[in-house]
Subunit: 427 residues, 4 copies
């Protein structure tokens, strides 16, 4: 992972506190009982997130770089390592993170404080070559924690939606929407030779490197995300019962899981509702459709006579535009209806599925050692999403940012934007 | 389920309070986080037990028999019904009881109070035919809660033992043992025509009825339970690696699960330890071996040139003897070494696997309606255990009491007593 | 396994040829393609049966007792050992018996001839102590082959019924039936002290020993098997959709497997048909209901206000009566309607589920060595069936004969006879 | 699927006979018993292949386009449809193709003859618009049959290798190899703007269209495939025990499946052997490593400091070169050692894993109707392989040909060629 402009120690310390505080702020509405839940393999307990992000700093910074650092508990590196095979401790199985009542929530917060204390020392005391490495890793650690902040929200949503009482995370959230979505229009983009990947200005993960040339045919992108109302037409057309509409692997999942609609949709007395962080609400047609799998996004796009954009197309279009949109910072925690305008909702609201597989850029090299496992080892079987969501921090995003999920996953805030060829064909 | 001598309303009310209070007392050492855990399908979360026993009173007494009773929450009968198919509510899947953070622990205790209040009213106000039915069901409900008290302890033990930190439920428990077990001796019993089943004096479950004649050949019973030390010899003889020792179904489980020893045993630096409610302790050879499956008990007995007693043999021997032994009332929560004497440890310490399948007694009839599902529908594929354990209440037991488990289950406090023919052969 | 009257060498040789020839006769209608199929774990390929019964003679007689015997192929003991853990060869996994195209059918028949040749030599040449052992094992081997002859038919039926073309094993079989069954009547039997188990006159398996006293209350047995017509009423009453009717384990299987009727029943344009060895035929109400699991037999009996007989009740009633009925010898290969009379169909037609678990008789001891695995290691989780079926050889049966299956299994010709207490209650 | 130059009716008829005959020729060494085997979900029984390719002609040509055509059997479209959801018949589950003994092999060959007869009529009689469609589909049908010819060989190999007797498909095959492989050298290729996809000259599948521009950085390709000897070094380096070497999904498969080497490798008394269509032979270091998954190919390349080529890189290099190499036509049926020279083994020997996900080319449109399911619906979760193998027909290949497999699959003849950046780095 490469970094750019060097912040001062004080800036780093402040940034550290700010990011760390936000994790705790997100947990404030939780009951102690909510902290331990794991209702799906991919959705971790909040307690685990809170501990794991601390472990990240402990393992990659405090243990190697802070002389005299004492670990808080000798087994926590086993319990809170996520998936790094190249650490001695091994790791507790991912699927069983919800089966540990101890350490308690209070003990996990003590662990955080212990790590925070160490990090403050490290930021003041570390020097020389170590400090160069530390700086780089602190940035990674903070970005890592921001990623887990988004996961905290998506996972809590999953855990609470699983409960038949459909409890709200917060009952005071605004989920309002206009009656109607703005009309669906497209913006034409010229293409040609372009560059893809991180520019080197500012932090970027290793998987955004190296920046490299690529060629794009002219294309068009929709000016907003697909809406719930539009997706309802797809359902009404019998999509979930018609194998002709789906990829082969998609149809297998649909039959096995019994999917009939996006995740979190349910019919009550014949009318569609949607589970949100504000609880169960009537489905609002003007809002972006959300919590789609790649399978659903891809099938919808084909059904609509369009296609998904490639990640190069998305990045080329986004690179010129300001990073504006509905982020976690807004406190809404649910996507918002699009405004009129060119390429609205590029950032925030919902992650946008692309038609690109998550693969290494030509010349990609992961970092040496365990930290090299951060991104590189997942470059298979997943598809790229772009643009962030209503659960992403504004300052976590950049045009070259690559998110990735398995094509059947849909517990993230994931939607889609249509694309087509310049002449309106799906090419 | 048939009952006997009729207690007064006041006696019933007091008994009710006493039993209910003990459940809460057992939960006192728990952290809030412990209440929600489910680390095996058969081991429910403490919170669920606490709510389910209240639901039992609500569903079988308050709703049908207390005029004007308002349920605490309209969905709790769905969440806290265990397995009664003949109730309208249906029930939340057993394997997913650990995936509900709401209602919170505090709400579940409020539910208990609400039910307790209703039950006090019912005990005072109910009359006529209803009161006859109510009395019968209150006894069932209290015995039911006592069963769940034992499960609370066995399940908590499972949940905490699952945690790699091996936390203790209570660190102040006595798990002491003498250096050596008393020698293994046998008591001869004459047999002949005898009667099996509940006598009608005092409460008994329906599955203990009807009392019926049966014939017993002369037999011998060991005077104490098999010990850890004896079981270690079985292990040292290579039992867990030798298919010739096992039933076919047993060997399949051993290979699939990788069993090498009883549940909760683990080797640390070459010496055996045992997880207890007091935490991890060195294995003590003089204590009864515990947490065995039927598969292990049966194989051990054959390996030792003996066999398991039948339930008729056990009951015939026990019927004459006082109900004395180490129960939950002692507060030890772990079996104790046997004293010298005839047929010691018949009651308490460990449930004793018998060689009898759990089947209906000739002429057995379950009660009508949902409550008839209490025992009858489990009469297949399970084996009978007798005598109670260190986690059973003293006043919950009687000679005719039938416990039952699947042959692979071993999370109960289950051990074994050897039997043989009068001539010392396994017959 | 204990034997009785000693046949001459010539009688044994002739009996051997006769039994062996019948296996091959049963395979005559098969296409080469049919020999290799395995459509369920418990149903082996015909080729495997044909080879395995030869292996039994090779392994337990020729290798240990015939000097100079050369095995036909060094790997066949691995391929055709069924489940004997105490042989060096190990065994090919049961679930994968259908995945071996080699040895070919012709090679397997060569193997049979090779073994037959060895057995003829052994019957002539073996002497002294060896001959005593040989005689005992030849009887076991022949009875073993007869059991596999029944399995050949039940397994072929399963394999062909699995095929959507529903091919017949033989299209020339008689499956006729009268319009109506004889009325359902009961015979009262007095009970009292009785003896259960093999008498010692003639061959019996080890699991029929030792003969031992038992006590029986007076009881009644139905004079015929339950019919298709009667079972249709059970279905029409909604049995397969009503959990209140079933054991808990039964209901789990019904939901998981989607059972709606006995195995091999299917509805075509609204009318019930039954797959038979003669192909698919309209269901005939007067014939015995067949291919039931214990779960279905037990539930039907309770639904009908009756119960299943115990194995002691069955044997006590059967011991006095001649072994007459519809066996494989008749060539019908499908059960026949009952005639009027006391306790008709006791033998043959369909195996009768009893309410008894398959457990060792008091004092049971399996033989030493691998052959001791024949019966003993299956004494868990299974229920006893009695009386043989239309696929059993007449001379394979005796009153003390114990068959056993898991309660969910139904690919055998298994039906039921009702029992009740002398006063007509289910006791 | 688009075609090019139009062959005459006679040419088509002759081509048809030729392709059809080759399928039957490949089956000649089979025993009847081999025809029905299915030892893995992805490996179909030879009988099924033989029938399915006939069904393809029946379903897409004879039924729609030959007036008066009578199907051979009304249920064969259900049995022999592979995966086309848009046909009325539905299809027999893929995983159960090996569980059908009927139709017999002889009946399936009768079915072939029936279809051949119909096809001859159709080629002579069809006219007008229908004939245009027919021509197109005949080409698809013949190419389809050629694909299944390759699968016949790979599936037979799998079925026979599964058998512990390790029978040979043909014992007369040449599997010889030189002592040493030619040295590993690389050819530099300039890159730049290039075009990818079918040129329109000659038959191509729909997934090779549309031809489209793409940009390539300069790169190098190895001049031969990776050898067994080189792969042995990877194993000797502990690769299969070291998670740091693998993609995350790869490591999960390795642990679950217990992979220790490529498919078909086994150690006998400490020396490596390889199962081939000629039976089990000692592993020969100079031959190309074969039967690798993408996981293994990708990991090996990274371990070697290189990478896999993209499909664009492969095609760009191959497009200029003649289609020469070791194909099924040679009759060797096993890869051959490379000769000295630039980019040898590009075609034939082993399919070459690329680093490209199997996704639609920009502007891709599948054909309308069921035939559109041929390729398009598999464009997810798979990786592209290029170049054909020793089991592919020479005239089935072209530079734009795209094969695809799931990354864990390795029962095809799949190996790898290394690539790197022009400066020797993995980029
Ligand atoms: Fe992480
Ligand atoms: Fe209960
Ligand atoms: Fe056998
Ligand atoms: Fe095909």
């Amino acid at each position: 992972m490469q970094t750019a402009a060097e912040p001062t120690r004080q800036q780093l310390a402040q940034r550290y506190l700010q990011v760390r505080a936000f994790s705790e702020q997100l947990c404030e509405p939780l009951a102690i009982e909510d902290y331990g839940l794991q209702t799906a393999v991919e959705a971790s307990p909040p307690k685990w997130h809170i501990a794991h992000v601390s472990w990240f700093f402990e393992n990659f910074l405090l243990r190697p770089l802070l002389p005299g650092y004492q670990v808080f508990h000798s087994r926590f590196d086993h319990l809170f390592n996520s998936y790094y095979e190249q650490t001695e401790s091994g790791f507790w199985p991912r699927a069983k993170r919800g089966l540990l009542s101890r350490p308690t929530v209070a003990e996990v917060y003590d662990y955080r404080k212990h790590v925070d204390h160490g990090m403050q020392r490290l930021i003041q005391e570390c020097d020389g070559e170590d400090w160069r490495l530390a700086q780089e890793r602190i940035l990674i650690g903070l970005n890592h924690e921001q990623q887990h902040q988004e996961l905290l929200l998506t996972d809590i949503k999953h855990h609470l939606a699983f409960n038949p009482l459909r409890p709200a995370y917060r009952s005071d959230l605004d989920t309002s929407a206009p009656e109607q979505a703005v009309p669906l229009t497209f913006t034409a983009i010229e293409g040609g030779m372009t560059e893809l990947g991180a520019t080197g200005a500012g932090f970027a993960y290793d998987n955004e490197h190296p920046r490299h040339p690529t060629w794009l045919a002219p294309y068009r992108l929709a000016d907003r995300l697909v809406t719930n109302g539009e997706y309802l037409e797809f359902i009404a057309d019998g999509a979930y019962a018609n194998p002709a509409i789906w990829l082969s692997d998609a149809w297998a999942v649909i039959r096995q899981q019994g999917w009939q609609a996006p995740l979190y949709w349910e019919q009550i007395d014949g009318s569609w509702h949607e589970m949100t962080l504000a609880g169960l609400i009537p489905l609002q047609p003007a809002l972006p459709v959300c919590h789609l799998s790649y399978f659903e996004a891809e099938a919808y796009a084909r059904w609509a006579g369009k296609r998904l954009p490639s990640e190069a197309e998305w990045e080329h279009a986004a690179a010129q535009r300001p990073i504006e949109g509905l982020f976690v910072d807004s406190g809404r925690l649910h996507p918002r209806a699009a405004s009129v305008g060119e390429l609205s909702q590029l950032y925030g609201d919902c992650w946008e599925w692309t038609g690109s597989a998550y693969l290494p850029y030509p010349g990609y090299r992961p970092a040496a050692g365990a930290i090299g496992e951060y991104n590189g080892k997942f470059m298979c079987n997943q598809m790229v999403l772009r643009g962030g969501s209503c659960a992403t921090s504004r300052d976590h995003l950049r045009p070259s940012y690559r998110n990735f999920c398995y094509p059947h996953e849909r517990w993230q805030f994931s939607g889609l934007r249509l694309a087509d060829a310049i002449d309106g064909g799906a090419a």
